[in-house]
Chain length 727, copies 2
């Protein structure tokens, strides 16, 4: 990295050179001219311009309103101020692209109203739960307001009179940046997506107001010590692979300010080489975000996540456009731009429509089996994704073994999610939140997010003694991470990922290995899930599976609770689970459910010491905030135990052709022949003469190591960490 | 109708003339030749032929199996015998179309196996719950087997040796028709879709075996008294409009044998004029079936119905092809054929592909607001469908006020269903059944179908004293029907339907009027539901709404049951409802839920005497057979009361653009100003100065009648049965 003093000089020089003309933040004057000259040439660009025109013309034909701030998220004043910045922002772009002064007039009129209102505002009346803003209940929305409005201002800067500029800067941009920098310093110096929004907003305002101190603080933190600010965020929020520590849902949101500000820096401080920074970390960030989607484009909802979010979110339009333009013009990105069916009104947006004109049928995005490391150094665990099949009907297994994931993290180490048929089959609850729905706590995270959704029992991973990992203490959780043990996707018929977690529960070591195995006997690959837990003391081990679909059958007797439902427990999320049935399977337990056109079974190594519960989410939920989704939970009181579960998609349910096939699982019997620190050996039997033995070396991941294990009269020998013997 | 003796003569003459060549049941020799000559001409016909080839070639490359009958629906032997008849049937068509003997050989080989097995079969081992067959657990499947196999036999009839024909007739077709006629006489003489299958199968066998007695019995019943048989079924199962008394789900299934046998009669007894019979009742039957779908093609699931069924079901391919060909070549039908993307291998299939070649972009099917009468005379009530909007986002309200609907009928008079956004918004449970899933009672109707799904409380209609209509007695219910009072869809902004039911509960008169009202103030039309109930005695009136989506908000306090769930009652379906909350709203109650991209509210005229319950289906369900769907139930203990509920779609929930709007209902206050035998007058108030008065004349449906009602100082005057005054 360049030394501080040198860089400051560099910045000043660059700014002096680059900042002579407006606009020059995201949309540059040259790009605006080129878009203008190409109107009628590229349908998707025309559509994007027309969408903006429609939006702004509708605004210009309606009464303008800059209301006194009053409501929380989803309420009128909240939504209106959001609408206003969007109207100004798009009007600004349109002024540049069309040259029509009506757009500039519209912005000026609205800025007058803000200039009148803003100086008198105190803390937002609803700003109790989170960091409050003035116009909005949280300062986050206020930074987004500024990030857009400053671009509108940039677009009409030259058109405005010097007096108007002075008024707007004095009454709005100056006090707002002061508020952000001085009263929201904690947020400003946060290594977190909220921090990215605020530094981007302040940096962009700094560039326009030619206040280079603001620009430098945006890059290097309020103390200019480089421990925070945009560059530190680029260093610390992404692993060397580009994986964003909060996960897929929030990276979508975070990429927006990252790319907006990167583009601003690219245009204004070209010598900073932002797109090449940290071995092109921004490019890696986009590709890793795209990989953390299922084939329906939905972000895999680990941590706080709303499941409805897909890569169609407008945030991703910028990222896709900029990465396409500034790196290798990757055609795969064009296929996503085609789905967006819209481009950014920027030079890169133009590059994308030109690319599509040359290649109107670009290749589909290439979802792969892939692992990502977590942590700035890439040494804090990570996530592993195994996939099988073409995108129209792909199995995807996502396994999480990284860091906590900041303030939106869940206590879910070693959890997994499973998809098939374009839908969730074994789900993660995601977040308990109805975004922007004012009746649901003003659209904020609901109380049940803390009391259920983020706790361990809400996930498909082991719960020890009915408590959450790290006792639900974020500070503790953030000190540790899980460790990757294996990842191998070379053989599409035998892919696996394995990780260990030794800190989440004191005195308990956990090691989970998930194998995606394909075989001609099977309809599609099955998952073999081997979850080994070790402790010197006896504990209650609970292993939930939140299956999606309808209960079809279990091969064991159970006691259903048909007269009255009671809760699974009193605390740590158990109070939110109704117990619908309980069972004590004596032998290998099979549970089958139905979803879409297929059946799914979980085959478990239950025995006479095992219990199984069936549950439904929704107890202790006075406001009906939770979804009433079902679950199956294995329980074992033991010191050392190895849970083996096979998740198998099977059969056909075709209601159109009235045809059903193979509604029983192929797998029928599981025996753990051995499981200790060094080896787990599992016997797997089933229909059609399935007689397999899965051998895992638990302490030596080497690919060349030879292993030999004697069990009774049998000796199993193999090379490498994992071997599936098919007799 | 022609006299009996004359007709017998006519039949004999026709048969002698027509029956000289094979095949001549559904596929004729001429059509087979024409299809052959046109191979390569029409892509959809080629595809249909290739699908058959693929299916049969796959069969020919696999071991043939004609297993001893053992399993219930969904089990191996059940599915295998279904597969076998399909293989023979399609091989027969292919033999005719290609002339390749391998197909004929395949059929012959399989028929040998059946000829060996069939004579030794007794009653099916699983045939306990319904009318048992020999090869199948219910005779219904056996008739379907015969209907297909006899066509295969027809296709290779001329190719077979006389000895083989004798063997197959002696060992299979002869004893099977005897079994159907003599041991399944009850089914044979049933006015029901099972009856249609069996008479069609027997009649087709009769034609091939030249046993004209069988043919006549198939047409006029086992006693030849014309009270039963195919012609009586055409007379009695459809209303004069073509509405099938069992409803949309079963008509789909019933149309199959109706059209197969009609085509056979068309080819073999042309003088019968089957397609013109009863003023072209078969054509009307198809069109009314198509109207009883929502815009996603799903049959509206009244009575016993599985919701997955759409008009893509293969049963409808024949009906669409034959009606297109034998009536006016309606282009709208081509659009459905295009969705089928397959045609029948018949002359009519050829007509359809030729039609599509001429008109490759036929107009979409035209869903309309429409009423259908019920009962053979059209005087037994009916159903009314109100629609608004284009098919891509259409509101549809279906209101049921007809007959019981035979053995699959539900106790659901005056119930309604509501759709929007291409999905269910207020649902009917449909049937409790997992078709062909062997673990779920062998795919039969589940016990919960009788104890919940078909009872009154499972529907969106009034329950009196926690009992079902007609005390759940089918014989009683079949004696009566509701009566249509009004139907008017002339004004798309004010459509309405109204019906009365005076027999379902002794001493209780019920009258429901549903108005679909559009107004520029609203996002989309709202339903105003006025349900008037009258009795000399006090009763407990319960009014459930099975909303689909997530509870968002109520404007009244409620007591949620968060620690323990208990049942709503002990019997009549109440034992299957968990009570999740209860409330006593003092004023107009508003309940809002979320589904997809919209909010929905039910605004109710609750007051200090009203109760509201929130429920979830799933109590007393030891086998997890029921879906855990939510409901909202109003309760009123009273003698006379008028329930008014407005169902309003409102607002936008856009998670992609993070945008929410109008999550509160527009309507806010309801007052029943008057409600008696003659008039109901309801005041409706809401946001944006809504101040409406709905006036309904309850005893005079005349369009020209003038009405005048004084309420306090106001006098309301209007003409016609229903008037919405917008102040």
């Amino acid at each position: 990295m360049i030394k501080k003093t040198g860089l400051i000089l560099l910045i000043l020089v660059s700014i002096v050179v680059a900042q002579r003309s407006h606009p020059n933040l995201v949309l540059t004057g040259d790009a605006a001219n080129e878009i203008k000259e190409n109107i009628g040439e590229y349908p998707m660009m025309d559509k994007s311009v027309n969408l903006a025109k429609e939006f702004v013309e509708n605004a210009m034909n309606s009464p303008m309103d800059v209301p006194m701030p009053k409501d929380a998220g989803g309420g009128y004043t909240h939504e209106r101020h959001k609408q206003n910045y969007n109207e100004m922002y798009q009007a600004g772009l349109l002024y540049q692209i069309t040259g029509e002064e009506q757009y500039a007039e519209f912005i000026k009129t609205m800025l007058y109203k803000y200039a009148e209102m803003y100086p008198g505002l105190g803390e937002h009346p609803e700003g109790k739960q989170q960091t409050p803003g003035r116009m909005f209940w949280q300062s986050l929305n206020e930074t987004v307001w500024m990030l857009h409005t400053i671009q509108a201002y940039d677009c009409i800067y030259d058109w405005l009179s010097a007096e108007d500029r002075e008024l707007f800067e004095k009454n709005i941009f100056r006090p707002m940046t002061k508020f952000f920098l001085e009263e929201c310093t904690h947020e400003f110096d946060l290594i977190h997506n909220h921090g990215t929004w605020i530094v981007a907003a302040v940096g962009m305002a700094g560039l326009i107001m030619e206040d280079y101190d603001l620009v430098q603080k945006s890059l290097y933190g309020s103390k200019l010590d480089k421990k925070t600010g945009f560059m530190a965020q680029l260093d610390l929020l992404f692993s060397p692979d580009g994986y964003y520590t909060e996960g897929g849902y929030y990276v979508r949101y975070a990429l927006w300010p990252f790319f907006i500000y990167a583009e601003v820096l690219h245009n204004n401080l070209p010598d900073l080489g932002i797109y090449k920074y940290r071995d092109s970390i921004l490019k890696k960030a986009l590709y890793s975000a795209l990989q953390v989607t299922y084939t329906n484009g939905e972000f895999i909802p680990i941590n706080d996540a709303l499941k409805e979010k897909t890569w169609l979110s407008p945030e991703l339009i910028f990222a896709v456009n900029f990465v396409y333009d500034h790196y290798e013009n990757d055609d795969h990105l064009l296929s996503i731009a085609k789905l967006h069916n819209e481009v950014s009104l920027t030079g890169s947006g133009l590059a994308v429509v030109k690319g599509l004109a040359k290649n109107p049928n670009p290749p589909q995005f290439d979802w792969q089996s892939v692992q990502f490391t977590d942590g700035p150094d890439g040494k804090q665990g990570g996530v592993g994704i195994l996939r099988h099949g073409t995108p129209d009907d792909q199995e995807t297994m996502f396994f999480k073994y990284g860091t906590h994931g900041l303030s939106h993290g869940h206590y879910d180490k070693l959890t997994f999610l499973f998809y098939d048929q374009g839908r969730e089959i074994i789900q993660d609850y995601g977040a308990a939140r109805f975004l922007n729905v004012v009746q649901k706590w003003g659209g904020r995270y609901l109380p049940e997010n803390k009391t259920y959704a983020l706790l361990t029992v809400a996930h498909n991973t082991l719960v020890v003694d009915e408590k959450s990992q790290y006792n639900g203490k974020r500070k503790e959780s953030e000190k540790h991470h899980s460790d990757r043990y294996l990842f191998n996707s070379e053989n599409p018929d035998l892919q696996y990922v394995s990780a260990k977690e030794n800190n989440a529960y004191k005195g308990v070591k956990m090691h989970r290995t998930i194998v995606m195995v394909n075989d001609e006997i099977l309809l599609k690959p099955a998952l073999i899930d081997v979850y080994r837990v070790e402790s010197e003391k006896e504990h209650t081990y609970d292993m939930p599976f939140y299956y999606k679909g309808h209960f079809i059958y279990s091969n064991y007797e159970y006691t259903p609770f048909t007269d009255q439902l009671n809760k699974m427990g009193k605390a740590n999320g158990y109070q939110h689970l109704w117990k619908t049935a309980e069972a004590e399977p004596k032998e290998t337990g099979i549970f089958t459910w139905w979803n879409g056109n297929r059946f799914y079974s979980i085959v478990s190594n239950t025995d006479e010491k095992s219990k199984v519960f069936f549950t439904m989410i929704g107890a202790e939920d006075p406001d009906f905030n939770l979804r009433n989704d079902p679950g199956m939970m294995r329980r074992r009181v033991d010191d050392n135990f190895t849970f083996v579960n096979i998740v198998e998609p099977h059969g056909i349910f075709d209601p159109t052709k009235e045809f059903t096939k193979d509604s029983y699982s192929t797998f029928e019997e599981l025996n753990v022949l051995k499981s200790d620190e060094d080896y787990s050996v599992v016997e797997i039997k089933g229909k059609k003469d399935i007689d397999w033995v899965l051998c895992i070396a638990n302490s030596d991941p080497g690919n060349d190591t030879s292993h030999s294990v004697s069990i009774g009269e049998n000796v199993f020998t193999w090379t490498g960490p994992l071997f599936l013997l098919k007799k």
